[in-house]
Symmetry: C2
Subunit: 515 residues, 2 copies
Amino acid sequence: TNCPTKPVSISFVNAFPVILLDLLPAKNGEEATMQFLLELVDILTNYVRKTFDRSTKVLDFHHPHQLLEGMEGFNLELSDQPESLEQILVDCRDTLKYGVRTGHPRFFNQLSTGLDIIGLAGEWLTSTANTNMFTYEIAPVFVLMEQLTLKKMREIIGWPSGEGDGIFSPGGAISNMYSVMIARYKYFPEVKTKGMSAAPRLVLFTSEHSHYSIKKAGAALGFGSENVVLLSTDERGRVIPADLEAKILDVKQKGYHPLFVNATAGSTVYGAFDPINEIADICEKYNMWLHVDGAWGGGLLMSRKHRHKFSGVERANSVTWNPHKMMGVPLQCSAILVREKGILAGCNSMCAGYLFQPDKQYDVSYDTGDKAIQCGRHVDIFKFWLMWKAKGTVGFEQHIDKCLDLSQYLYDKIRNREGYEMVFEGVPQHTNVCFWYIPPSLRGMEHNSKEYREKLHKVAPNIKAMMMESGTTMVGYQPQGQKVNFFRMVISNPAALQSDIDFLIDEIERLGRDL
Amino acid sequence: TNCPTKPVSISFVNAFPVILLDLLPAKNGEEATMQFLLELVDILTNYVRKTFDRSTKVLDFHHPHQLLEGMEGFNLELSDQPESLEQILVDCRDTLKYGVRTGHPRFFNQLSTGLDIIGLAGEWLTSTANTNMFTYEIAPVFVLMEQLTLKKMREIIGWPSGEGDGIFSPGGAISNMYSVMIARYKYFPEVKTKGMSAAPRLVLFTSEHSHYSIKKAGAALGFGSENVVLLSTDERGRVIPADLEAKILDVKQKGYHPLFVNATAGSTVYGAFDPINEIADICEKYNMWLHVDGAWGGGLLMSRKHRHKFSGVERANSVTWNPHKMMGVPLQCSAILVREKGILAGCNSMCAGYLFQPDKQYDVSYDTGDKAIQCGRHVDIFKFWLMWKAKGTVGFEQHIDKCLDLSQYLYDKIRNREGYEMVFEGVPQHTNVCFWYIPPSLRGMEHNSKEYREKLHKVAPNIKAMMMESGTTMVGYQPQGQKVNFFRMVISNPAALQSDIDFLIDEIERLGRDL
């Protein structure tokens, strides 16, 4: 193996090959199993070590057809006959080799970045336990951890005594879908049994900058995407409350029923926080459900310095909060939190007696399966619980504050720098720093000309393609409304330092200089 | 540590404590990180070893209040301040100690059992890679593995050249939900934008023995659970096609629109397979969508001996198939497979330009995010792909055949044994063996008497409670329709042997003898 310094690899490296049938549950399979797992761990820890090494690439890019054709013996095709375990370990090494190091200090491409060692340990344990959140019976410890953690999150939101409801779901889109379902159940419970025809035409409201999952939920749940009304925002991407009220009145005048408002707390592109208190006033006035999508912003609730951006969140009826984003918990870890206790079960339970037996010897109120839209449910809680234990609330706070400081560092560095233009003015509310890099060849041009816009639109994709080909760093780009492609830098990676920000800027300039 | 035979533990056991801040990404954090991870691996491999050891308990049962009060220093509460890494490792050990060994050869409680070593290795790697199925850009290898594996599964279903569509979802309930959404989109695409009011009253049909997720999908997606019509079954739990046709005609006569039939291939309790070909005839006649819920039965498609139970499956429009059940893949791993190519994207895409940039340097048709109802999506494919590589198709076949043989062994053993009654006659179609154990005190009683039924109803829960308290084995029970509580034995655990079946029967008799 390529890891000479680690004690584990030496002791069994020559013992291979073992074969699949030697592994547990085979009789006397312990030794072979331990050998195999430790050889794998050697590969994994080597990957972990390299992930944090700035001298390694973030990725070794290949096109789909290249990987499909087979890279140096890495064959993705499945066959009828088994491979040797030695080949399996080679496959594992190759899988990592041709992947993307999302924990690399210079990987800034997604809202979820970083590789938290405690979170990783939590995932390894979770997969070893290989159980299901379905009932207390088969996941007693994890079910209680989920309950305690959700309560803690509700306390942090500010709901009295942390009372309420909630569940971990397979991601923010599903959590947001839950919020729409619950809102509908609260106001029109008969839709559960009779369908949408039991309700008037229901309308959902969300920012034009919000995540597409609200619209997707509207389509999936039978509202129709046209009944998801997009709200105008200010230049910073925050919903304009007056626009919300005007659109509610418009909908009412048409005879439709305004049901639900989503306030985004940390928008995907700008990192904008909608003004929750003002939106809550309007929701109260019109008796509407207020959901706060804090999938991305939620982590800021842990920071005494930044949680004011969530001012009013305790007035929300439901909140989405993804620890797998800003808090660095491995994917997947998303919570939907609800202020009213019992409403999740009311909304979703089908009382399947063959799955949830009421006559067990323990308190079956701990069986959570029937309040989910899932049946089997992956254990997403343990890694998060373990990280919370290891860091304490203060550790999460330090991480959040550090990331926001780094984002401020980037903002300060480029806002007056030659060749940069900010997409919106002012210090970003979250770690999102949105900017155009203007190559020298474009700097003298008229900004409003079609030619300039067309050329600028291609700059970010071109630089990004070169970044990926060279594998040095990764950062996202996208257009937004009338604005042509710009870079969206986000920082949630605990490994990132100021020097990595400097590197990114140098790299953009190196790659973009001659465009 | 308690694992003296393993080489890894010896070299660093005395090096603790390191502290959290010593771990990567800390400068020079490699050594501490490796120490911590290897100490964890020591705990995990020790757990793996014990899982397969029949002299250990399946579980060490405690009531919720006991675990909440804290067991010998195992404190579930979260706090502001961090714990030491030494305590973190103790927490990991305790989490496993008070959990349930779902891979134990005598754990028969769920449809998902077993601990496949290759699958475990796959999960460890997946969590180390910690990425997201969202785009090719950040998960190139995994995205291709998913594509190839879905194609292979479609070939096995029997769709020409394996063409079609599909995605891995977070479980069978979500996969079934997809099928309903796609069916609606196929026949009434305008519901996506205009909502359910753009369609007539739509009706879904599914067996009274089917999984509750179809009804749940009906409620969630705006059909209403009353518009999910339950079909009568024969005494073996299989849908009666004539009943389906009669109910379709009844619905049509009322002016509603029959949209969708779910045929269950392996029902949760009886393991029944609905007659797909006869149902397909009816679906064709009335121009309806045919979904096959093979969440539990899907594995049988891998067996030349047993796949005839799926006869007609190639006529389905969509199929749910959970490798995390009968095929022993770690949770979560569920696929929704669709015959018509492109329809998933048609149904779910919102074309969010800020998330899926069309101007990338690679072929963006590999970006799968917009066809999912999720945004971020956990990598569920790798462990499955790796197991397939290691076992080959033939290895899955052997596993399936072995489990069905074991179930036949159990059936043969108890069908004429004193004190047992089968819930339905004949060899089970799947590994589900459903039976009552009749304690000696009940054997002379009139079976139709209320007293007998009430007493028998309590037998399985009582035995199960004693099993859990003693921790020797676990098997499920439930009532079904008018039938009082009975045991449902299922075998998907690759570690189970005939002697474990014998043990279960002995244990039921030991615990139930004096009831």
